[in-house]
């Protein structure tokens, strides 16, 4: 039956009559013009908000640009910004160290908490959904300034934590103002937001076929053995996904560090996250050329870390459809 002799069909109810052109081949039509028309806002955004700023940023990173100077005053300084950063800026290295420590400690602990609680919730019982929702709540609120302000109050010298410790005769300290513990309070705040990866873990756990557990039981596996030999390998793609996302997320922590240190990265630079240092350089001291160089080092580092994660992922991430 050819298209043209097709018996008359009722028109789609909402279809506009103006666009009804019968007898035209329906498939293999190129929507080129329409495609680019629909894509045009995105393309414009890609150029104006992403690509051009990236190139400008790369250019600025080789200059001494600060916001106060005229464009004509911009001087090409070659690799000077990068050289200063690596050899002559203790604050930069401090920021690198703080960020690495934060990401290396907070990410595994957060994912561990997320997986642990997900395992607890991975049974159908009354109220499981309620618990899931309540554990997720901090992930929605935790990135806000308001929660960071409260966090500061809890760990203050006269805060709730010390009042609690006082019941046991323990004298606490000003956790937020002590260089040895300030970063710890930031890490705790990050772990507190374990709900988002937990929800993703739960979805992954639901996908593990029950036959695998039954087969393991037939072979005499206990609960721990089943976890090691069935749950972990089957969950590894989800673990990997969460690991990549949370690591990148961890590198970018800004709000909590800004609020807990009052915008300084203190005490003694102990909470000077990389993004905070970038902000202070660019918008505090207006050294925008230098800040651009920092941004590029940041971008390359994140790219490198992601690449390394993907590389190592080959050895422990198990994709069930590829193996059989």
């Amino acid at each position: 039956m050819s298209v043209t002799t097709r018996p008359a069909q009722p028109r789609p109810q909402s279809g506009p009559a103006a666009h009804q052109r019968r007898g035209r081949p329906a498939r293999h039509r190129d929507d080129g013009r329409a495609g680019y028309l629909f894509l045009s806002p995105w393309l414009l955004g890609l150029a104006l908000v992403t690509a051009i700023p990236m190139l400008v940023s790369l250019y600025l990173s080789f200059t001494n640009y600060d916001i106060l100077s005229e464009w004509s005053d911009i001087k090409w300084v070659g690799l000077a910004n990068y050289r200063t950063m690596f050899t002559d800026d203790p604050a930069f290295w401090h920021a690198v160290k703080v960020t690495l420590v934060f990401a290396l400690i907070a990410t595994p602990l957060k994912l561990g908490a997320a997986l642990g609680v997900a395992l607890l919730l991975n049974k159908s019982f009354r109220g499981a959904g309620v618990f899931r929702g309540l554990f997720y709540l901090p992930s929605l609120l935790g990135g806000s300034v308001a929660v960071a302000m409260i966090w500061r109050s809890i760990f203050d010298r006269t805060g709730a934590l010390n009042a609690f410790l006082g019941w046991f005769g323990i004298e606490g300290k000003a956790w937020v103002n002590d260089p040895s513990t300030a970063l710890g309070t930031l890490i705790l705040l990050a772990i507190w937001q374990f709900g988002a990866p937990m929800v993703i873990f739960l979805a992954g756990l639901k996908q593990v076929p029950t036959e695998l557990y039954e087969a393991a039981e037939v072979d005499g596996a206990g609960a721990f053995r089943k976890f090691l030999s069935v749950t972990l390998p089957m969950l590894s793609p989800v673990i990997f996904f969460n690991l990549v996302l949370e690591t990148i997320h961890g590198f970018q922590g800004f709000t909590s560090a800004f609020v807990l240190s009052g915008g300084t990265g203190g005490p003694v630079d102990s909470t000077l996250m990389y993004t905070l240092q970038l902000y202070l350089k660019g918008f505090g001291q207006f050294e925008m050329g230098y800040a651009s160089a920092m941004a590029w080092v940041f971008l390359l580092t994140i790219g490198l870390v992601t690449a390394v994660l993907f590389r190592t992922g080959r050895f422990w991430v198990h994709y069930s459809d590829g193996d059989d």
Partner: protein
């Protein structure tokens, strides 16, 4: 009693005990914040209890008028920025997603790969050149300094939402498009009469997440807003850091509670949708 619970597992299991304790621990900071906002200033910090010894609502009016500009102004500004972002994201990302998910055109694969590439691009990397650019447009510190916060969303730069909607549209049966094409619908009418009505759930997710993220966003608002009158709620809250002393603590708690209220209401109203939203896309809260 027995007849109701017969055949069920006992209600109090070790698992239940652990979960309840854990919930208490996780919710404590939020409950403490809410309770403390009703405490007298001298009681706030060092009272571990969630419930105040003496209840007083005074922190709320004190906080509302703590700065030269009433806090209501900051909330209005936040609300405006968040609402405009929602509208901008829903429109622009939907258009881009339709092109990626449904239309054939040259280099589609290439552009799609670029879009995926921008997913993981940290906003901090571009903030300096964007600031320089928007400033040269006269948008920074201008009469309406929210342009740099909103215009990027009009241009579908939130790749997360483009991706979310592409994934969603791929689930809409293609037979519907084909049927509409046979009936002579153009790409535009298919968008208008087939894809748009069916994309409602993806639009709702985008709207809710856009609102919450913009409401919570701090970094970009901190960079672009310099005039007290134009501050949004998160930027205004940080003013409490500088005003030390006990007089500021109560108001700070009260305004923090108010600033979290909209997000909390969204959570109560759309809890399932939010949780499932991060399931399908891996979006962060």
């Amino acid at each position: 009693m027995v007849s109701v619970t017969a055949g069920r597992r006992p209600f109090i299991t070790p698992r239940a005990v652990i979960l309840v304790l854990l919930t208490a621990l996780v919710l404590y900071p939020l409950a403490w914040m809410l309770g403390s906002s009703f405490k007298a200033p001298e009681e706030i910090l060092n009272n571990v209890s969630v419930l105040p010894d003496t209840w007083t609502p005074a922190n709320y009016p004190d906080g509302w008028s703590h700065f030269d500009v009433a806090f209501g102004r900051f909330f209005l500004n936040s609300f405006m920025v968040a609402t405009l972002t929602v509208v901008a994201n829903c429109t622009s990302c939907l258009l881009a997603a339709y092109a990626f998910a449904r239309l054939r055109f040259r280099m589609r694969g290439f552009w799609f790969a670029i879009m995926i590439g921008t997913l993981l691009l940290p906003s901090h990397v571009l903030i300096v050149p964007q600031f320089v650019m928007f400033r040269s447009f006269g948008w920074v510190g201008g009469p309406w300094p929210y342009l740099p916060l909103i215009v990027p969303h009009l241009l579908a730069t939130d790749a997360f939402f483009v991706f979310l909607m592409v994934q969603f549209m791929r689930g809409i049966p293609r037979e519907l498009d084909d049927a509409a094409k046979i009936d002579g619908c153009s790409a535009y009418s298919i968008f208008r009469y087939v894809v748009l009505p069916l994309s409602r759930p993806a639009l709702v997710s985008t709207a809710i997440f856009s609102f919450i993220w913009t409401w919570n966003d701090f970094f970009r608002q901190l960079v672009y807003l310099s005039d007290l009158e134009k501050y949004t709620a998160p930027v205004a809250l940080t003013l409490f850091i500088d005003s030390t002393g006990q007089s500021a603590v109560g108001p700070m708690f009260a305004m923090s509670v108010l600033s979290l209220a909209p997000v909390f209401l969204f959570f109560v109203a759309f809890q399932r949708l939010l949780v499932e939203g991060i399931n399908t896309t891996g979006l962060k809260g």
